[in-house]
């Protein structure tokens, strides 16, 4: 769980606890005739906090019940991503520690179900650098979003940017470039990714019936890696075959998440 989500979860629990305490105190004061109150108010002061506590307890119990499966799924995802990293390293001769791997699943915002984006389930790279980007991947954005949109594996050589992008010096020049060349990125996202990776590969994860894209698995090689063929290592049938096999193995883990 991300830090912001964890903070909200803790804040929510504190609010529920304080609401229950406040309601119990208020009810007691009504019973002691310190405050005036109707029977309906008394009932509401018992039922409302009790409902909140019941919902939260049930949610916690379900989470506790699912935790072993979640751990097992996480280990399975990690195994598959590491297996793919070893395979890519074997084929490309790039050290394992340099290769990055990510698994994303498509998530809808509860307040706007039509608003889908890719939520990063797991990131794996032995080296601590580079850190994962903070890009909010959406359909069609960059190589990862393109894999989602086209339902096909995408390989991108990022060492050779289109001339317009290579010439970007500030936000004004970036905004002048047409949307398709910008790849859906904001200026801040573009700056965050610029020069970071030499190449990337993204493969869609399909639902079991093959009708829907439910996630994307991606691999990258940072631009700091020295290679005789910079930008062309991942465009290899063996790498693509392994990545697509991993994406097919990962469908179960995503569907259970």
């Amino acid at each position: 769980m991300r830090l912001a989500a964890r903070r909200w979860a803790v804040a929510w629990r504190i609010v529920i606890a304080l609401a229950a305490l406040g309601a119990a105190a208020w009810k007691s004061l009504i019973d002691l005739k310190v405050f005036a109150g109707t029977t309906q108010l008394g009932i509401a002061l018992v039922v409302f906090p009790a409902s909140l506590v019941a919902v939260e307890s049930i949610r916690s119990a379900v989470a506790a019940y699912r935790r072993p499966q979640t751990e097992q799924d996480r280990n399975q995802i990690l195994l598959l991503l590491r297996g793919a990293i070893l395979t890519i390293s074997d084929v490309t001769h790039v050290p394992e520690r340099e290769i990055g791997a990510n698994l994303f699943r498509i998530r809808r915002a509860w307040y706007a179900p039509w608003n889908c984006h890719l939520h990063r389930m797991l990131h794996e790279r032995m080296s601590f650098s580079p850190q994962p980007s903070s890009v909010k991947w959406t359909r069609g954005k960059g190589v990862i979003g393109a894999a989602w949109e086209n339902r096909q594996t995408q390989v991108a050589n990022l060492t050779r940017l289109p001339a317009e992008l290579a010439a970007v010096v500030d936000e004004a020049t970036f905004q002048l470039i047409d949307e398709s060349t910008r790849g859906g990125f904001t200026y801040a996202e573009f700056q965050g990714l610029r020069g970071k990776y030499a190449e990337a590969l993204a493969s869609p994860v399909l639902s079991h019936d093959g009708t829907r894209v439910i996630g994307v698995v991606s691999f990258d090689i940072p631009s700091t890696v020295r290679s005789p063929a910079p930008g062309a290592l991942l465009d290899d049938a063996r790498v693509i075959g392994a990545a697509e096999e991993v994406s097919s193995f990962l469908a179960n883990s995503i569907e259970r998440a």
Partner: protein, 66 residues
């Protein structure tokens, strides 16, 4: 079609390296079962076109864009 054949051969090699990597990382019965299922699917779809195709792999492409 030649490029298809070459790519499929390469993809098969990639899958074989992947299976080897997975076995080296976690040599247990679940890993073996997962690999055996994938190999059986491959075998079936190769020997009987259109039958036994793992639909999860229907999104595979032999050609890439960027």
């Amino acid at each position: 079609m030649a490029s298809d054949t070459v790519d499929e051969k390469g993809a098969g090699e990639g899958r074989a390296i992947l299976y080897r990597s997975l076995r080296s990382l976690h040599p247990d019965s679940e890993t073996e079962a997962m690999i055996a299922r994938a190999e059986a699917d491959d075998e079936l779809s190769n020997s009987t076109p259109g039958v036994g195709v793992d639909r999860q792999r229907s999104g595979r492409t032999r050609f890439r864009g960027n």
